[in-house]
Symmetry: C2
Subunit: 227 residues, 2 copies
Amino acid sequence: MVTQERTARARRGSLSQDRIVDAAMRLLDGEGESALTFSRLGHELRVTPTAIYRHFSSRDEIIAAIADHLDELSLEGYEPTDEWRADLTDLAVRAWETATGHPAAAAAAMFTVTSGIHELRAVDSVLRALHAAGLRDDVAVSYYRAFVSLFLGVSAAHAVRLSQQGRTLQTAEWTQVYRPTDPTRYPYAEAAKEQLRFTDPSEVYRMHIDMYLDSVAQAPRAGDDRV
Amino acid sequence: MVTQERTARARRGSLSQDRIVDAAMRLLDGEGESALTFSRLGHELRVTPTAIYRHFSSRDEIIAAIADHLDELSLEGYEPTDEWRADLTDLAVRAWETATGHPAAAAAAMFTVTSGIHELRAVDSVLRALHAAGLRDDVAVSYYRAFVSLFLGVSAAHAVRLSQQGRTLQTAEWTQVYRPTDPTRYPYAEAAKEQLRFTDPSEVYRMHIDMYLDSVAQAPRAGDDRV
DNA sequence: ACCTGAACACCGTTCAAGT
DNA sequence: ACCTGAACACCGTTCAAGT
């Protein structure tokens, strides 16, 4: 029913980095990582696939732009409060929500260091909260690194799992089901079998947040006798 | 100088799942994830690329076999002691060492749930250590889940970074370098700029291990008044 | 039963040609 | 300056044919 579909030539300013990233996000959210091709992008944008090369010099550059876009999404509306625990929790939860809200995009891009402005804002926000918690200098930097590797690592890993779930029909949810030939050799796994089947990953994430906050609370501070 | 290279037909039993996985590991370790193709595998094994389909029905199945192989590598020589802290540290460090020793393989496969025997052994080993620490039932299972998502997530994220490093010529090591247009808007990041450049990722991993062990030490136990 | 080789539908990327 | 379309070298995967 679509009439002049492949007829008209796309007008001059029809393409832009933003429009391409939007289309990429649409494809990733809708059909997963394998849908992110020049062909599909071109179709989505009603443009010849190679036209995209005018705005991105490679597929990897598109993914870097997606990473920047995810950084922006994550921080949207974030405002620091006067409570460092609340701020760090907020920032950690934002990473998780971005990963679960856009799993394929996060799986493809979340490991990419963009060195973009939004990433810088995130760095500054975490450091600010750690400063408010009383951490200084190398202690603050170490805890910043721990924050990033913990919450980005776990969130990204979760995103990968979620986006793989689409391709391979997993048995059920998150559950690993083991069928050992000789269960007595793995008594602890055998005993925990039932409980292992049902765990909410976001509850585990909550544990990580609590662990991290407790650790920050106990970190050495200026004037401490601990080194 | 290699004489009869493409001449002879490969003899009957020349191929096997193990030989294919070995060749895949060689390619991944040597040249990164993009080297893992049927074409390269065939060349490495002196066999027609499609011959591999007799032993694996798809590329994803090869990656699953690599995941199983990594599980095996990780646990090689592991023996539980009577000290749960040492055991959990050992298991966590093994995940890290597998990731850093085989970054491309880990990046490709570490997120895959194999449900294989080695994975089951790992599950049992972690649960056993947590049992020795005094954790029971859902508390033990929760801490098992936290262990896996933390150390596998962080290790796999590190592997992805290491294996990307090969493709994109990063500025230097692990360092993110930000050039904000207006540094005063990001005072904490600006102040930490120098320290941010040099952080040993394995030191950060050590922090995660300590955080986790501390948390296990404080977890509720049977007979506790805490719930 | 296992390996070969042609074929298929798809990739990302290049480049000269159109407007 | 930006979009098009043909072309290139490569993918994973299939399938009939050899041994």
